[in-house]
């Protein structure tokens, strides 16, 4: 099964920019550990991953009344904090949840990727 793992928010953690250099290094180390945990786990394959530009770098497109409107910023307050994603194959949901425990304490949204048409 393919899962889209969205790092949707910082939870109780301070934002990335508020961390000291040491804290940022520790955070990066957890991301590396996550990659390693995925590589070591049978039936798990990392397909794609990326850190995403923060909310201030976002551009939103909205179509209302047939017209597409372009604005600066994310589509909602909640989306400000989206920091990155992983796309991975795993045998089941519990495997993904266990692996996510290795990551820093983000708010995480796990979606199954639906099979194509």
């Amino acid at each position: 099964m393919t899962y889209f793992v969205l790092l949707a928010g910082y939870g109780e953690m301070p934002g990335w920019d508020e961390l000291t250099a040491e804290e940022q290094e520790a955070g990066m180390a957890k991301h590396v550990a996550f990659d390693e945990a995925c590589a070591a786990r049978p039936g798990v394959e990392m397909l794609s991953q990326a850190a995403l530009g923060d909310g201030s770098m976002a551009t939103t497109l909205r179509t209302r009344g047939g017209e597409m409107i372009t604005t600066d910023g994310p589509f909602a307050e909640a989306a400000e904090q989206i920091g990155g994603y992983y796309l991975l194959d795993a045998p089941d949901l519990d495997t993904v949840i266990e692996l996510c425990k290795v990551l820093p304490a983000y708010d995480i949204d796990i979606r199954p990727v639906l099979d194509g048409p």
């Binding site: 899962y3 039936g43 795993a90 045998p91 089941d92 949901l93 519990d94 495997t95 796990i110």
Partner: protein
């Protein structure tokens, strides 16, 4: 007598009903484990029981009823799988944990499949209401109609809830199989929460003849008893069963002439002695613990204290107040504080109870029970004005007609 399947125990399928009660969960668990097709397994087993209801009254009950049903259902699934294979779509299989070994058809081992099925139904990734519905439907065999009745919703609503939950299990890859050892305790906590939610649904006031659905609350007790059989060493499971047995034993005393009877007013001769005994025995074996297990133990101790009192006047309120205090310290729950206020009022007088209610209007703004308790304590304290105002507030907030009538009667009795 209405069965969990919703069918009568007399008549042509009266021979099937006891087999249904005993075997549905075991058989379904084995079928799901064997085929990984949650959708087909349930339908096939239901058809097998329907066929049994048709044949067995004529042909006699087979020597091995469970085996007959399993073989019939399994053959049906295989037939459907063959038909599907030609359609060329990808099969909606339940995910399994790595290391999962499909069972072979050793009948002795069928009982083992129910724990993975319970854990599947009660997975935290499923909505709370869906967990209850799935556990009742798949493990106990309660019909969709009866589950809808339990939760006071229309049958199509409950049917849709079940369908969505089964869809999520397959699409999100919620797996069959043992959780990692370090997770088992928290997963069992979740199962116990689900069972307790299911139980209390039966005691949430409805309307008319369905004011309480204690028969269906009984299905939750069966679930707790089954789980206790499967994991006898798990403390939270033991506490849950104790708590449910003790609360459920009072069911015959809860209603009188279509109205709810409070604990203080209940005819204790109507409490079921054998269930009380079983519950008290379980409580006596409990040791102090941590986390959710300890919360459940404290609730069970409170229920046991009520159970041990031969009359309302003989209730050990100081002990109960102590347990509520410990529970409040653990959970910070406003509802617990409300119940504690009642106990403290019994021990130290109404003023002491009223003092504890001070912050609760803010914490529980729409809850009529805060106002109702305040009214009762104010009445005992001789503060008629506060009692009157509080009863009025409670009546305004109360959504249930029977409870509202009870409060109105209390208000009228003041004048």
């Amino acid at each position: 007598m209405t069965s969990t399947s919703g069918r009568s125990s007399t008549g042509p399928d009266g021979v099937v009903e006891p087999v249904f009660r005993a075997e549905w969960g075991r058989l379904l668990a084995r079928l799901v484990a064997r085929t990984r097709r949650l959708d087909l397994a349930e339908d096939a087993l239901a058809e097998a029981f329907a066929r049994a209801a048709d044949r067995w009254p004529r042909d006699g009950v087979p020597d091995n009823p469970a085996g007959w049903l399993y073989t019939t259902a399994y053959r049906q699934v295989v037939g459907w799988l063959r038909a599907e294979a030609t359609a060329g779509r990808k099969a909606p299989l339940v995910a399994v944990r790595p290391g999962w070994v499909p069972p072979d058809d050793d009948q002795e081992a069928w009982a083992d499949d129910r724990l993975p099925l319970i854990l599947l139904c009660c997975h935290p990734a499923l909505p709370a209401g869906s967990r209850s519905a799935l556990a009742l439907r798949l493990v106990i065999g309660t019909s969709t109609e009866q589950i809808a009745r339990l939760f006071l919703v229309p049958t199509p609503t409950m049917a849709a809830r079940l369908t969505r939950a089964k869809k999520k299990i397959v699409l999100a890859g919620i797996p069959l199989g043992a959780p990692p050892v370090e997770e088992l305790r928290s997963r069992l906590d979740e199962v116990c929460r689900t069972i307790y939610l299911t139980f209390t649904a039966g005691y949430t006031p409805g309307a008319g003849p369905d004011l309480l659905r204690t028969d269906l609350a009984g299905d939750a007790v069966r679930l707790a008893a089954l789980l206790h059989d499967l994991v006898p060493d798990a403390h939270q499971v033991r506490s849950t069963l104790a708590l449910l047995l003790l609360q459920h034993s009072r069911r015959d005393a809860r209603l009188q002439s279509g109205r709810l009877v409070t604990l203080a007013e209940q005819d204790r001769a109507l409490w079921r002695a054998d269930e009380l005994r079983a519950g008290l025995e379980l409580v006596d074996g409990l040791q102090p613990d941590e986390g959710y297990a300890e919360e459940l133990r404290l609730q069970a101790l409170i229920a046991a204290a009520h159970a041990r009192a031969p009359t309302a006047a003989a209730t050990d309120w100081p002990a109960i107040a102590g347990y509520y205090a410990a529970l409040e310290a653990r959970t910070g729950s406003a509802i617990v504080r409300l119940n504690r206020a009642v106990a403290v009022a019994e021990v130290d007088g109404p003023e002491a109870g009223l003092a504890l209610l001070a912050d609760l209007d803010e914490a529980l703004p729409d809850n009529h029970r805060v106002a109702a308790v305040r009214a009762e304590l104010a009445r005992r304290d001789g503060d008629v004005e506060l009692a009157r105002a509080s009863y009025r507030t409670a009546i305004g907030l109360c959504a249930n007609a029977v409870e509202r009538a009870h409060l109105t009667a209390q208000l009228d009795a003041l004048s």
